[in-house]
């Protein structure tokens, strides 16, 4: 016999799961909808009250992305180069700086650290005209380097904050032991501390990659030709314009999915690191 209390508990459990499933459906809706558009033939998208699910499946739209807009491959390559170089620089530089802020007691340490961290709260969009002017004077506008360098600077700060926390959590005896064994400071850092903080720089890399892959406003401002445009700007070229070219719509959906794929892969592979990054004091005060 089921007691009333037990029944009530089961009902509330079911309700919670139903609510969560509904929330998950809402969260996934954009992806599901894009997929349903991207895999159907063009003719199916422009009917009045087209069905939510495709009747015929096709992958031709994905191929069309590259044949209708050959620059798409260039945009894609640009984005990969930019994020690869910038994320790599961020991991190295923030590990060095995080180590110094956590371990070396040089005069002015706290002042410099807090001056660096305080700037995180002012989004880079605020100084955009000035930043553009600086890049223009350095002849960096419309170059890949003109995005790589500012991106590195912008997401370096969070990386430094995370790496300092990570190094603070490493027992001090470890680097003392390494120093006694005859390692120099750099040697101790390189051979002992870097390997054991690997999960730290994975978190740094993820949290730099995610906003960088989708960065729009700086790229939109600084780039003007396909040779330096990242994928987020390339999307603009594929925008469907019903009055102008009808075919673009499912192709655009396919392009959007292609741009989502790296983000989704990173998210799936490093899933537990995301939670760890948020939990492990990255965003704590």
């Amino acid at each position: 016999m089921i007691s009333a209390a037990r029944l009530k508990k089961n009902i509330s459990k079911t309700v919670i799961h139903l609510l969560l499933l509904a929330a998950v459906f809402v969260a996934m809706f954009l992806l599901l909808w894009l997929i349903s558009i991207a895999v159907r033939p063009v003719q199916e998208t422009y009917k009045v009250s087209a069905s939510l699910l495709p009747k015929k499946l096709t992958l031709v739209n994905f191929r069309q992305v590259f044949s209708e807009l050959p620059q798409m491959a260039i945009y894609y390559r640009n984005s990969i180069v930019i994020t690869f170089v910038a994320v790599g620089s961020i991991v190295i530089i923030s590990a060095l700086a995080g180590y110094a802020f956590a371990r070396i007691r040089f005069p002015g340490r706290n002042l410099i650290f807090w001056a660096v961290i305080a700037t995180i709260f002012f989004p880079y969009t605020i100084s955009l005209p000035a930043l553009y002017d600086v890049l223009f004077r350095l002849h960096l506008t419309d170059t890949l380097l003109g995005l790589i360098l500012p991106y590195t600077a912008i997401w370096l700060r969070l990386g430094t904050l995370i790496m300092r926390q990570v190094f603070l959590s490493v027992p001090k005896e470890l680097d003392d032991a390494a120093t006694i064994d005859g390692c120099s400071r750099l040697g101790a850092f390189w051979r002992v501390l870097l390997p054991i903080t690997s999960s730290g720089w994975v978190v740094v890399a993820i949290f730099a990659f995610v906003p960088m892959w989708g960065e729009f406003i700086l790229a939109f401002t600084v780039t003007s030709t396909p040779k330096s445009m990242p994928i987020s700007i390339g999307m603009k070229m594929l925008e469907p314009n019903p009055a102008f070219a009808e075919w673009t719509f499912p192709v655009a959906a396919a392009a959007a999915l292609l741009i989502f794929i790296p983000s989704l892969l990173i998210f799936i592979i490093f899933q537990k690191w995301f939670t760890r990054g948020i939990t492990a004091g990255a965003l704590k005060f």
Binding site: L20, A23, V24, V26, A27, M28, L30, A50, I92, I93, L96, A97, A100, I104, F106, P107, R109, I112, V116, T119, F121, F122, Y124, T125, I126, S127, L128, P129, A130, Y132, D133, V134, L149, P150, A153, I154, L156, R185, L186, W213, G214, F216, I217, T221, S232, E239, P242, F249, A253, I259, F260, L264, F267, Q271, F274, I278, T279, L283, K284, F285
Partner: protein, 303 residues
């Protein structure tokens, strides 16, 4: 005295070597632009007509105070914030409480990841995709409301209707960032000791009472973090830029977008005046941050 400081600096000189790359990047692309922005805000600086550039003292700020566009765009931004901030904080909190009450750890993790997923998707692409979903002919929302639910839809469309354009952008933002708020609240919930709830239960307090007496007050530090992290939204630019271009009319012309267009689209690119807009925004955001610090950042009451 001076000698010891010099000696300490010399002794720990490796510290400066370790942070040198950080300082080089920061100096060039963060600090220099910020200083330069303040200088620009006191100059007439038109990018496409540099011959006329010169220092003009407070003229830009005087113009800012007289410019009707300031209050107009600020109102649009506030309208957006009023819809967006409370909704996504509340929705994020509900999601955190729901996933937290799932006993099965595996299921809870799966729910959390799937709910967090929109946060990691690139914002501009999400904005484009939502723009298509809002489209009156090919979009899906009008379709669902009219054909599947059979409800009337008394608007021209979503993004092309004056009354609906800004709410539509707010809905998209709620959709994308609630998962992130959920994660912040989950961290906060984990910091509340279980004993408190047990004690309350023994005292015969109901679940609702525990929620309002224990959970909400102890989440105050999390609310502080959320408010501080959301101050950046005051400068919202990308979503209206991609989805509506400030339209229809100027209904979605936010403060950030107007400043951006002043600097990079309209006329001779008035970067000096735009910098004054940005400086005033930064001052306002700092003021709000200080207020939040004062009123929300209380040390937790327990332990």
């Amino acid at each position: 005295m001076r000698n010891t400081l010099v000696r300490r600096i010399w002794k720990e000189r490796s510290g400066y070597a370790f942070i040198a790359p950080l300082l080089a990047y920061m100096g060039m692309f963060i600090f220099l632009p910020v200083v330069f922005m303040i200088v620009l805000s006191f100059s007439r600086h038109e990018f496409l007509r540099p011959a006329k550039n010169m220092m003009v003292g407070l003229a830009n700020y005087a113009e800012w105070f007289r410019d009707p566009a300031v209050w107009e765009t600020f109102k649009h931004t506030l309208y957006f914030l009023a819809m967006y901030i409370p909704t996504h904080v509340l929705y994020g909190l509900i999601l955190a409480l729901l996933t937290n009450s799932v006993v099965n750890r595996r299921a809870a993790t799966v729910y959390r990841s799937l709910l967090y997923l929109p946060v990691v998707l690139p914002l501009p692409i999400v904005a484009y995709a939502w723009k298509w979903m809002y489209d009156p002919t090919i979009g899906v929302f009008t379709h669902i409301i009219k054909d599947f639910l059979g409800l009337p839809f008394p608007f021209k469309g979503w993004l092309i209707d004056e009354r609906l354009a800004m709410p539509s952008i707010a809905i998209m933002s709620v959709w994308q960032y609630s998962g992130w708020i959920m994660m912040l609240f989950l961290v906060g919930l984990n910091n509340i000791p279980d004993q408190l709830y047990e004690a309350a239960r023994i005292d015969g307090s109901s679940a609702w009472k525990s929620f309002f007496r224990i959970t909400l007050p102890l989440l105050k530090p999390t609310f502080f973090v959320v408010v501080i992290m959301r101050l950046a939204v005051l400068g919202i630019t990308v979503q209206p830029l991609i989805m509506t271009d400030g339209g229809p009319g100027r209904t979605t012309m936010t403060y950030g977008l107007h400043a951006y267009y002043l600097a990079f689209r309209w006329g001779n690119w008035r970067m000096g005046y735009a910098s004054a807009w940005y400086v005033m925004l930064a001052l306002f955001a700092t003021l709000l941050g200080v207020l939040a610090w004062k009123f929300l950042r209380e040390e937790s009451v327990y332990g």
